[in-house]
């Protein structure tokens, strides 16, 4: 018994509590927004052939043990969200606070690194800085915006203790997660990657983002798409003119499949550009007219 006598004299649980374990950080990509200024779903905007949702999810998954996608109940069956682990809004109300609160309610024992679905420049450097400078004792750890100096709530780590505070804030009609962070003792850090938080909310910003992405990415251009047969029915239209960053028919089909939930895989289709059969890797040019050709059945 001699080896244990030292600790037996003062039970750790009472006089000298061990520090609570630091909660792990999970990822939450917010894909429940209405994208009203963009006029199309920001989660499915394509950058280098990958949707914004895929990019944000993969970036978070590289750092965090579990990553979820936050959606409204009406989006749970949306084809662009299928296949991801979802956290469906479970508390009433609108806006990002609802998504954050729903995640905190689902797993009260973890902190959530929350990422908006409109940050195409978000980098590994930014995420690793945020994780390294996290303060688990604060309500949240967030970057200071390089534009207005205010905290950026949608690229931030929300600690479990913020759950009760957010509930109270929302009950008092609070809707702005940024104001919440300014009032509730969040740790605010200055981003070393100053471009990481540039967000993309409008078609113009999307165009600029694609342009500045790098020289490999073609500038967005207008394409004309016509739909026939099953694809016309699934798209709910027979043609459209579209601004897109897709530079090949393959990229374009990936973008449109995510948007409309086409059931046919690319391997089942052929593609025509300007009324002639074309290769999936052909470079598209502004004004091109594209038709995806499902399996034919003449005669």
């Amino acid at each position: 018994m001699t080896t244990r006598s030292g600790s037996a004299a003062a039970p750790a649980s009472a006089a000298n509590p061990a520090p609570a374990a630091v909660p792990p950080v999970f990822g939450l990509v917010l894909a429940g927004g209405l994208s009203s200024r963009m006029q199309r779903d920001k989660a499915t905007l394509l950058y280098r052939g990958k949707s914004q949702l895929e990019r944000a999810f993969e970036l978070a998954a590289a750092y965090l043990p579990e990553v979820y996608v936050s959606v409204r109940a009406s989006q749970a069956a949306d084809p662009s969200r299928l296949g991801y682990p979802l956290i469906i809004d479970s508390v009433p109300g609108e806006g990002p606070i609802v998504g954050i609160r729903s995640a905190l309610a689902t797993r009260p024992d973890v902190a959530w690194l929350v990422l908006a679905c409109d940050l195409p420049f978000l980098s590994e450097a930014a995420l690793s800085q945020l994780l390294a400078e996290r303060d688990p004792a604060a309500s949240a750890t967030a970057f200071r915006s390089t534009h207005d100096g205010l905290p950026e709530p949608l690229c931030a780590i929300w600690e479990p203790k913020s759950a009760a505070e957010l509930t109270a804030y929302q009950a008092a009609d609070g809707r702005c997660p940024r104001k919440f962070l300014m009032r509730h003792g969040a740790k605010i850090i200055d981003p070393r990657d100053r471009r990481a938080l540039d967000n993309v909310n409008t078609p113009d910003e999307y165009r600029d983002a694609l342009r500045s992405f790098d020289s490999e990415v073609s500038a967005p251009m207008q394409l004309k798409i016509q739909y026939y047969a099953l694809m016309r029915e699934q798209a709910g239209r027979s043609d459209e003119t579209l601004e897109t960053g897709a530079s090949t028919p393959a990229d374009l089909y990936a973008e449109l499949k995510a948007r409309y939930g086409f059931t046919l895989s690319r391997e089942q289709l052929k593609v025509a550009v300007n009324s002639e059969f074309a290769s999936w890797s052909r470079k598209l040019a502004a004004g091109d007219s594209v038709v995806f050709i499902p399996p034919v059945a003449g005669g």
Partner: protein
């Protein structure tokens, strides 16, 4: 124009008259009709839709290929689009040639290629009120069952 679409009933007599040729000793036609069953289901009507800009080009290429393979005098294919009832004629192929052998062969070649290559789609309406796009919906759940490549005929000059 060796391939064309019509929205009304195909006038096969007028089509036949276009293929008359003093050097032709034989004339073969194929007519595709709307029938009342397919793959075990009772069909009540068909709806045809085409990407006409490309379909006409591809159809004319097929007729030209037939003429290059077989010594035909004249050849023509007419496809109907829109909603068709049972027994309606959906497609007409006619070939006139010096001898019957090449007329039969060329006619067969044209209808086979048209079915596989020309962007025309067919929606079946069934007795029970259901409907479906032929070759598209049954297989959508099993993408490995791939009609388009199974019937590739090398018409994609840019494809790898």
């Amino acid at each position: 124009m060796s391939f064309r679409f019509v929205e009304e009933a195909i006038d096969s007599a007028a089509a036949r008259a276009q293929l008359l040729d003093p050097g032709a000793g034989g004339f073969v036609t194929f007519e595709g009709w709307v029938r009342d069953f397919n793959e075990g289901r009772e069909v009540t009507a068909l709806e045809y839709e085409a990407f006409q800009d490309l379909a006409v080009k591809e159809g004319e290429r097929i007729v030209a290929e037939a003429a290059a393979r077989y010594p035909v005098k004249r050849a023509l294919c007419i496809h109907r689009v829109g909603r068709l009832a049972l027994t309606d004629m959906a497609v007409w192929v006619g070939v006139s040639a010096t001898h019957r052998g090449e007329a039969f062969a060329a006619c067969r070649f044209i209808i086979d290629e048209v079915k596989h290559r020309v962007p025309i789609w067919k929606k079946e309406h069934y007795r029970n009120g259901d409907s479906g796009w032929v070759n598209c919906e049954a297989c959508a759940a099993a993408p490995s069952h791939d009609h388009s490549t199974a019937h590739a005929h090398g018409h994609e000059p840019n494809a790898a």
